[in-house]
Every structure is written in structure tokens, then in C-alpha cells.
Symmetry: C2
Subunit: 156 residues, 2 copies
DNA sequence: CTCTTGATTTGACTGAATCAAGAAAGCGAG
DNA sequence: CTCGCTTTCTTGATTCAGTCAAATCAAGAG
């Protein structure tokens, strides 16, 4: 697995560098992370890595299709290594937890708009909003505000 | 129509103020606008309105259900008056143009994830990415880069 | 008309991300 | 193995969207 990243980088026409391997390592362990968390985690392996290097690496990875960038409303961009399978995401309104959902249909775009209004659609992005199991419990226990942040448009 | 806003504000328990009426006026004319554009446009009617007032008004409108906030990846948040019908959006990768798409199914969430992973889902947000009619032409005419900005992950 | 409460202004501030210039490292050719 | 070109990383400044807080101002109930 370790060497695979090296190969993948080369295949993508990218040089194999320490910052890139560190970032890939972090992404492999954490399915959905923001740039800042990646920088912090990567520093345990490569202490001198700069935040901007992380942005640069991520841009290169996304640009070459090795990683995917998702931008849930109300938070920083997140990155994941799972690419090419056009899956979707569940986002928790309470704690920001993200889970993957397999796409029912196979290829992108998995959905077609009822009226495309002249658009050539190449991707249908689906985000399911709700409460994760833990936050549902926390809500019911009525300790309103236990789980920090993200409090806002909860519909129920 | 003019007076309806006043009524709607009152019904929502909000005071009727000049900044709020100005912002509502702008939103009624432009279906999908960002806060900055709203501020600029509102100033033609109410010159002294401050940018922060616009943020305040928008937060109040969204909070009371009179407006909806959407946040397409890679751009500032946009606001629209069309609420309560759970419709979706088409976004142009070329120029950022946004079009509404009626939801095929009626109520939210219109879609259910195949495996909710314990989440209580209350909304399915769908964004269709592609090229609008104009940008398709511009692309074909090969004047690459005519339509500013937004250039990046075009799949085709 | 007056008073209370809610809204707006003003101005400072945060967080995420980009840009630019110089230094450093990858890696192919010799 | 070494050279040297090119890509990538570092450092530091800068933008952009949006928030926060204190003070002023106005809506509208009484």
C-alpha cells in the first residue's frame, strides 16, 4: 500500500515528495478532513511541512484525480481519496460528521434534472443533511448544546 | 406585491424596515445573488445601507424562512426568495450561472440514501454541475478563456 | 408622544484560501 | 555519481467572505 502512492503519483505525472506522501498518508487514515487538520496530522510525520504546502499538494492531487474535494455548506473544504465512483455524502447538522453513501446508479451524472434548461450536465452532486446517531441521542436527552458548533437550521 | 413583503415580514415577527424592503426588492429582481451584489443593488434604492446590514437582513430572512441560502462550492453564498418547494439547482462551471430545477418528487427529503448509516435525514440537497448553453458555444468556438473565472475541473 | 426593544451602523477581527518570490529538492541526462 | 533543469516547497503578504461587539438609531406598542 505504501508504494502504491508512489506509483500513483508517478502515473499522474507528479514528482514523489515527502509532503505529498505525508498528505496521502493522512488522507488514507481519515476519510474526510479539512486542509488544516491535514496539515496538523501530517506534521507528526513531516514536522516542517507548511500549511501552504498542504494547499499546494491538495490542489495537485485533486487536479490529477487522486483526491476529491467536497465543500459542504457552512464549513471548510474537505478532501477524500475515494474517487471515480461518484458516491455521495451524509452530513450531520449537529457535529459535522460525514459519511459516504454509495450512489445507487452507476455512472456520473447519476441523476438527470427534469428540465436541464440548455445545460450540459456532467455531474449530479447530492448531499444528505440530517443528524447522526449520536447527535439524535444528544438532542433527545435535551442537553441542548452539548455537541458544539453547527447549531442552526435544524428543521425538526 | 410591494405590500406583500411588508405583510410577510410582519407575519414572520420581523419589523418592517427600509434595509429589509430594499433587500427583498433586489432578491425579487435577481433570482440568485450573493451578499455583495445585493448590497450594491440595494444601494440604488437605499444609498446608506451598510454591507453588514445586508448580512443581518439576510440572516433574519433566512432564519424566518422568507429566503433561502445556497452555497455552491467555490463561490460565495447566494440567496433566493423561492422557498418551501424543495427545488434544486443547475450551476454552470463556465460562468457561474444558476438555474432552478423543479424537484421531481414532492416533499423534502426528495431522495433517500441507500444506507443512511444511522442518520436521520431531513433534506437532500442536489446540485447539477455542467455548462450553460452560452458556455457550451464559447467552448466549441475554442476561444478558450473568453468567459472569465470558474475555469477548473471541467470533466469533458 | 414616549419608551422599550429590535435593527442598523461602524469598525475591528477571524478563518479559509490564494498569490508571489526565492530556496530547495526531484529526477533524467550525461 | 554529478549536473542542471524543472517542479515543488517555504516564507510572508494579501484577498475575500463573513462574523462579532459596542454604540446609535428607529419601529411601533402603549
Amino acid at each position: 500500500m505504501e508504494t502504491t502512492w508512489e506509483q500513483q503519483l508517478r502515473t499522474a505525472g507528479l514528482r514523489v515528495t515527502r509532503p505529498r506522501l505525508s498528505v496521502l498518508g493522512v488522507l488514507a487514515e481519515h476519510p474526510h478532513v479539512d486542509a488544516d487538520t491535514i496539515a496538523t496530522a501530517a506534521r507528526t510525520v513531516h514536522p516542517s511541512i507548511s500549511p501552504q504546502a498542504v494547499y499546494g499538494v491538495l490542489k495537485a492531487l485533486v487536479g490529477s484525480g487522486l483526491a476529491r474535494r467536497i465543500e459542504p455548506a457552512g464549513g471548510p473544504a474537505l478532501y477524500e481519496l475515494r474517487v471515480g465512483d461518484n458516491h455521495h455524502h451524509l452530513v450531520c447538522r449537529g457535529c459535522g460528521l460525514i459519511a459516504d453513501v454509495d450512489c445507487v446508479v452507476g455512472q456520473a451524472p447519476c441523476l438527470q434534472p427534469s428540465d436541464a434548461a440548455g445545460f450540459a450536465v456532467d455531474e449530479a452532486e447530492v448531499v444528505f443533511w440530517g443528524l447522526c446517531a449520536d447527535c439524535q441521542v444528544a438532542r433527545r436527552t435535551h442537553v441542548h448544546g452539548t455537541n458544539s458548533a453547527f447549531e442552526e437550521g435544524v428543521i425538526a
